[in-house]
């Protein structure tokens, strides 16, 4: 009752929606980089949205379904194939016992999510299945998946192997792009931006550098200077916090960010747009647009409502056979 990792891929980990309640001990929430994609593939399969999924980077793994399963893939498009036949993203598929999942190329996006109907059987650490690579806990033995690893499926994954080929309505999928404009709200030190730097911050594109990982994305772009660089003491930071480093370049903190930091907090990516940055990788370019906190909260609530429709199954389309 498992899936077998035939080839591991460059970085494949078990993640869920994160580990909450331990930030004050320096233990970050972690979790998926693209929460929308993970929640949507789970909802599509009728799983709990918090169920663990595989987060895959490219080059992606090769996976054998030893006992067969119903599954779905969303997020990045790495051109998934099942036994050589192309699979659609955001659509339930049935894998026969022994079938092999492969990925043919880096189509778009940087993180693909594989969810199994009925869920993965993963031990929890501090209430979450997310892999914390620094602590070496959570997910699959606290580490990335390697060749010959077997990820167990819950018994319920084998109970119902019928698949209707249900697929996600396209309207709910975030507007993924390799050059997105993401919406931000001002951070604590936003007021310290000079007029010139404010204009740069809100009008230029910034490139995701090669020095980017699940902890944070370093950006390459025009200098963003602060008029007042007072010595700061550390305080909490969050997924989506945009800080100005001492060399006037920017960094966006991502899912595995440290819990506290002492660099100026210029702005924060709004929750609704975290999936857009969560799909970026080196060479992609991002631009920032300022919105109000009211707007950010409304956009968040709108997506939650949309997902509820999904969970209720009222917005599914069945694919033609």
């Amino acid at each position: 009752m498992s899936i077998l990792i035939q080839k591991p891929g460059i970085l494949t980990t078990i993640q869920d929606l994160g580990r909450h309640g331990f930030r004050r001990f320096g233990i970050n929430p972690g979790g998926v980089m693209d929460p929308a994609a993970a929640r949507m593939v789970n909802a599509l399969l009728g799983n709990n949205e918090r169920d663990a999924v595989l987060e895959m980077h490219f080059p992606a793994p090769q996976i054998i379904f030893e006992k067969g399963a119903v599954a779905a893939i969303g997020g990045a498009d790495f051109l998934p194939h099942l036994d050589g036949e192309p699979l659609q993203l955001w659509q339930e598929f049935r894998a026969k016992p022994g079938s092999m999942l492969t990925f043919a190329g880096k189509g778009s996006g940087n993180r693909a999510y594989l969810a199994i109907k009925g869920g993965l059987e993963i031990d929890q650490w501090l209430g979450s299945s997310s892999t914390n690579l620094i602590a070496g806990r959570g997910g699959f033995s606290g580490r990335r998946l390697e060749a010959k690893d077997r990820v167990d499926l819950r018994a319920s994954a084998l109970e119902n192997l019928d698949s209707t080929g249900t697929r996600l309505s396209p309207w709910i999928i975030p507007p993924y792009s390799s050059t997105p404009t993401v919406r931000v709200i001002p951070g604590a030190e936003f007021q310290s931006l000079s007029d010139r730097s404010l204009e740069i911050f809100l009008s230029r594109q910034f490139e995701i550098s090669g020095k980017s990982d699940r902890m944070g994305f370093r950006l390459i772009g025009e200098a963003v200077e602060l008029s007042d660089r007072a010595e700061m003491i550390s305080s909490a930071v969050s997924f989506g916090t945009i800080q100005a480093l001492p060399d006037n370049q920017l960094i966006i903190l991502m899912a595995d960010h440290q819990t506290t930091g002492g660099y100026p907090r210029l702005a924060h990516v709004i929750s609704r747009d975290l999936p857009l940055i969560g799909q970026l990788g080196p060479g992609d370019k991002v631009a920032f647009q300022l919105v109000t906190l009211d707007k950010a909260e409304k956009l968040y609530l709108e997506f939650e409502r949309n997902l509820k429709f999904l969970g209720a199954g009222s917005k599914f389309e069945s694919a033609p056979n």
Partner: protein
């Protein structure tokens, strides 16, 4: 209460800033507020992070909006709840301080930067150890690594700036100084603090129910040991 600033930390969290200096008084308020909210959580409360002079509060926008519809947004609702909590906050009673004694080996192997600290202070390494272990430190906050505590304040005489080039690997248990801060590397990690000793006590025990030895607000004394 002096000037308190409420600022967004993204759309699902806010930071209450009590000042921008390292001070026991401000930190007592931060820790007390954090403990108060954790003990008596409002609907939608997720968690708090007390820091040197601030408390950050993470919340679920939808839950807060549903329970406090009279406010224009979740940020205002949570700010208002915090304001009320601050009015009658008892900064001493809410978290009785523990004194945690930590045995530390101070020698050239465990503390490769003892000489640097001694040299910059113009005193002997023995004096550095005596001054360092003669102070009771407060745990202001945890961060950086699971279970890594930021403590202070280090005596002015031996306060030494960070190394200009961080080490690639600082061993687990290393005790370091960075200016007037001291801390214990809970895991092996890259790091730039001046390392003056090492402890065998685990700061981070991931498989225990409470995975970290130290909590914000604790007091710590370093006990010199041989071997």
């Amino acid at each position: 209460m002096g000037d308190v600033r409420f600022i967004s930390l993204g759309d699902s969290a806010l930071t209450v800033e009590f000042g921008n200096v390292i001070s026991v008084k401000l930190n007592e308020t931060a820790v007390a507020l954090s403990n108060r909210l954790a003990k008596d959580p409002f609907p939608g409360f997720i968690e708090t992070v007390p820091a040197y002079a601030s408390t950050s509060i993470f919340y679920d926008i939808a839950e807060v909006r549903r329970n406090f519809p009279e406010f224009p947004n979740a940020f205002h609702a949570v700010s208002s709840i915090v304001d009320l909590a601050l009015e009658d906050l008892d900064t001493t009673a809410s978290s009785p301080s523990r004194l945690v004694e930590i045995p530390v080996r101070f020698d050239a192997e465990a503390g490769p930067d003892l000489d640097i600290v001694a040299e910059s202070a113009g005193i002997s390494t023995e004096s550095v150890i005596e001054i360092f272990s003669g102070t009771v430190y407060r745990v202001f906050m945890l961060g950086f690594l699971p279970g890594f505590s930021y403590m202070g304040e280090v005596d002015e005489r031996i306060a030494t700036p960070r190394k200009s080039t961080p080490r690639a690997v600082v061993p687990k248990g290393s005790v370091g100084i960075a200016g007037k801060q001291t801390g214990i590397y809970s895991l092996a990690s890259p790091g730039g603090w001046q390392i003056i000793g090492r402890t065998d006590v685990d700061m981070f025990t991931p498989d225990d129910e409470s995975p970290c030895l130290l909590r914000p607000g604790d007091n710590v004394r370093f006990m010199p040991v041989e071997e």
